[in-house]
Homo-oligomer: 243 residues x 2
């Protein structure tokens, strides 16, 4: 399993992904699930992957290779004219990889499927955020639903539903995401630290603040430990039944 | 879908279940999922059901019929000597119903499966709480895991994990459950009001406080509306990222 969240704020885009992958519960590894492409001053694109690791790595490798051999296959993700076209390119690549693996007669106990979140900005357009399905189609975030989750979405969803606001600052959004990820990590062994994040400032057209929150992060520990007490206080602030 | 929670407190047992059933998303009904058997002064048993409605109704009807025809089939749920035997009887009845439906050649797009929570107390023993699987085996709650959820368990779990304590009063437990159910109802259309509850006081050997929380419940509305603000305040009490 996996947990990824992409958010569209007034300030820009926020991405967070865990790094745990598993083939069965007795085979656990750490892999990066967040990837970036940029041409500073002109475009910045971030991709987060959930699903079959062989599939998602193949998608990222193909996208990468095609940025380096322009004459061979155009347009690449560094050349598409809009975020819509970037999402379309990634979706087609995903579908191609899944079809190829299934078509070549590979068999697996789990499907080769994957679900992707792609967000970014290309000069001439606003920041945009998309969720790409394994079928190769995709949906775009808007003001009604300004964030997407993939993977194990349920445990961390109630706090997002209640506390998300487009006006959050990056630091407030990171706090919210840390709580959402902590709730998920506490409940599902197949989601785990470290967490990768990227804070993209609107109209900056370059990779923003990126980093990794590891198990020894003092901040994450403070959130994880503080949230239990904060929740209990929140509960205590409500009337008990029968009052 | 369904959401049921059974809790073992120092004060006794607490049960809550929703009432929404659905056959597809376009066919939604209201059915009771909580049932009681008691012999005041000697035993009290509560059962909550999740899963195929025909299966769970057949289980309850069979258990009921067998309490009325003692000579025909013994022991009934009103005659078994312990909660362990009560759980075993219910589990066997569940397995019998599932096997009969499948064995008679009925086919369905969904399985005939069901998962049950049974709790109560029989004179000579303490209050006990069991989770019964469709396979007909079951597990018992203990001090490490003093509550069981069935159905759509994920959305409402983080608050239970963080705020449950065996020392909660009934009124505090009801508040906690209302928050957990509210988080679930907000996220999954197939869980819905009204909610049935039962507060069983340890060593009372009779049905305790029971009731139904409907959509127009002022208490539930206060919880539902207050929890959003309470959560935001809880989040605000934690340090923002980068501080």
């Amino acid at each position: 399993m996996t947990y990824c969240v992409g958010m569209m704020l007034d300030a820009g885009l926020v991405f967070m992904s865990d790094t745990r992958t598993n083939a069965g519960l007795d085979n656990i590894s750490t892999f990066r699930k967040m990837f970036h492409w940029d041409k500073p001053g002109e475009r910045m694109i971030t991709l987060m992957t959930a699903g079959n690791l062989a599939t998602t790595q193949a998608v990222v490798s193909l996208l990468d290779e095609r940025t380096k051999a322009h004459d061979e296959r155009d347009p690449s993700i560094l050349a598409v004219p809009s975020m819509f076209q970037a999402a379309k390119l990634v979706a087609e690549t995903l579908r191609e990889v899944i079809a190829k693996q299934a078509g070549e007669g590979m068999e697996a106990s789990t499907a080769f499927n994957a679900t992707l979140i792609i967000g970014g900005q290309i000069a001439g357009g606003p920041p945009r955020l998309f969720l790409i399905y394994p079928e190769g189609n995709f949906i775009e975030a808007g003001s009604d639903t300004p964030y997407f989750q993939t993977g194990e979405i349920k445990y961390g969803r109630p706090i997002l539903v209640r506390a998300f606001e487009p006006g959050l600052s990056f630091d407030e959004a990171m706090r919210l995401l840390c709580v959402s990820f902590d709730s998920t990590i506490k409940a599902n062994l197949t989601v785990g630290l470290p967490l990768d994040y990227h804070l993209y400032r609107a109209d900056s057209f370059e990779i923003g603040t990126t980093g990794r929150i590891a198990a020894d992060s003092e901040y994450f520990q403070a959130i994880s430990q503080g949230w239990g007490d904060a929740l209990k206080n929140a509960l205590d602030s409500l009337p008990v039944f029968g009052d």
